[in-house]
């Protein structure tokens, strides 16, 4: 039996296992999933999952994600010191709200090439996108290999796409499928299929490529696309991307100490409800998302994530850090700050970083005085221990 025969029969036999939709059973399982977030059953389920790589954190589960993101409408204006010692107040010398490009450059960025080192791609800057009517472009995820933003068409939740800028050399144009030559902001590009979806790629700087991909133009028949519609939508989005390197990646906390070997791997610049800013930094052994140029950055790739967030009060304090109440278990450390926010150090692997190390990281950290005010934040490149 040759491969073709095997494949043919394999498809047939696998499809014979298709489970018909059972609305009652589906609803029951949905109900369990929704209900589990707030009860102890989830802890056990998640604990097993985390240990084998599902890459989620029990802390996030137990605390109810939604309450975590219910950031206070009015942020406390006081400087919050995590440490008992005087805190380093995040400088606002880079101040001013995050700047949006005033005008999209039709000719393309003349000085678009980012510096891939010192600081690395993932800390030096972030690309920005001009507002595009009909689309929300939010939640930037950044690694040393790529930066990716979500793009959601209005009225189409979970049916959208992404803009991804790869660091110089990270995306080999030869790996892209052949397609229709195009230009984006005056630069060479191609429109074709990538990973089964329409994609528009262009060289935003020397040896550096950006890709817009998404579900726009999708037809009811799965896997089929109206390519003209897809291309039109992607071209509009691509034209709005600004890679002028003028916008720093801002963080609302600063780290004064990290143990040797724990390095920055990824950052997330997102929004909670009501467009409340929210950022996260992830730290690991330096390999996450960088082993293969096209590896996608993921939350779980890191060992430690640090976020400042609305206080959840899900877990009663069991210790103090710098005089502030805190909760510790082998999945992380949460320090309740005076302004009603938490500094959360979460582990993607149980016990991956010791309690003493977490406490020392928190003790040497400082936070921006106004969590909702980006003008008080610090560029990521300056937020790391010196």
């Amino acid at each position: 039996m040759n491969d073709c025969d095997i494949i043919t029969e394999l498809r047939s036999e696998l499809r014979a296992t298709l489970v018909p939709y059972d609305p009652a059973r589906a609803n029951e399982m949905i109900g369990r999933a929704l209900g589990a977030v707030d009860n102890a059953e989830l802890h056990d389920i998640q604990a097993a999952a985390v240990q084998t790589g599902i890459q989620s954190t029990n802390h996030e589960v137990r605390r109810n994600w939604f309450s975590r993101y219910a950031l206070p409408a009015v942020a406390a204006a006081s400087v919050i010191a995590v440490a008992a010692v005087s805190a380093v107040v995040v400088s606002s010398s880079h101040g001013g709200p995050t700047r949006r490009p005033a005008v999209a450059s039709a000719a393309g960025p003349a000085h678009a090439a980012p510096t891939p080192a010192q600081p690395p791609f993932g800390l030096a800057w972030r690309f920005s996108v001009h507002p595009v009517a009909g689309y929300d472009i939010k939640r930037l995820e950044i690694t040393n290999v790529a930066q990716s933003a979500d793009v959601t068409a209005h009225g189409q939740p979970k049916s959208s796409g992404a803009i991804t800028l790869y660091a110089p050399g990270a995306l080999n144009p030869a790996e892209q499928p052949s397609g229709t030559p195009i230009t984006v902001q005056g630069r060479t590009g191609v429109f074709g299929m990538l990973g089964g979806k329409p994609a528009l790629a262009w060289q935003y700087a020397n040896d550096a490529w950006a890709v817009v991909t998404g579900d726009w133009g999708a037809e009811p028949d799965p896997g089929h696309y109206d390519l003209a519609a897809a291309r039109a939508a992607q071209q509009i989005i691509a034209d709005a991307v600004d890679t002028s390197a003028s916008e720093p990646f801002l963080i609302d906390f600063r780290l004064g100490w990290l143990p040797a070997g724990l390095v920055y791997e990824q950052g997330v610049d997102a929004f909670g409800p009501n467009d409340t800013p929210l950022v996260m930094l992830g730290f690991g052994d330096g390999k996450s998302g960088t082993e293969q140029p096209k590896d996608k950055p993921t939350y779980g790739g890191s060992t430690l994530t640090i976020t400042r967030q609305a206080a959840s009060h899900q877990n009663p304090p069991n210790m103090t850090v710098g005089g502030r109440p805190a909760f510790y278990d082998d999945l992380g450390l949460t320090v309740n700050l005076a302004d009603g926010t938490d500094l959360y150090l979460g582990l993607t692997d149980r016990g991956a970083v010791s309690k003493d190390v977490l406490v020392k990281i928190a003790t040497n950290a400082s936070v921006a005085p106004k969590p909702a005010d980006r003008s008080t934040w610090v560029p990521a490149s300056a937020s790391m221990p010196r």
Binding site: C4, T17, V19, I45, G53, E60, F66
Partner: protein, 176 residues
Amino acid sequence: MNEAEARQEFADFVRVHWSSLMSIGVAVSGSRQEAEDLVQTALTSTYARWQTIRPGEALAYLRRSILNAHITSWRRHRGAELTVGEPVRQSTHDTMATVDDRLSLMPSVQALPRRQRAVVVLRYLCDLSDDEIASTLGTTTSTVRSQAVRGLATLRSTHPGREAAPHPTVSSRRTS
């Protein structure tokens, strides 16, 4: 998005994809009961992170969660792994008539190493591209290809005497 909206969105999403998710579970585990456990675990962990999952990647995340949950199960019950539970249901589709009187490939599929099994299921049940499989499994495209080749080689070696089946056209995705 508030909590109510997120719950509704999650529920709607699951209803749309429930059948395919369960099918993956059955294909990798060989058991409807275990498939429900796998999918339930995946749904629970996914919902807890629903607001952090990128739009457009929720399905891939769920697939990955199911496969990871299966690996968990495999590790816990390594000794019992070779026992295939509920028999695979027979399709009434005409093309299946050709395999009715032959040894099914499914026990061999379920005996494949877990990564190879996952690749085979995602490739030939879900029709994912190698890039999509690599993304789902958190590996590289070349690894996916090599796992698929090894998996097929194993299946071929365990069914050497089977006669060639008819060749129904395997539809590829239309891209234009």
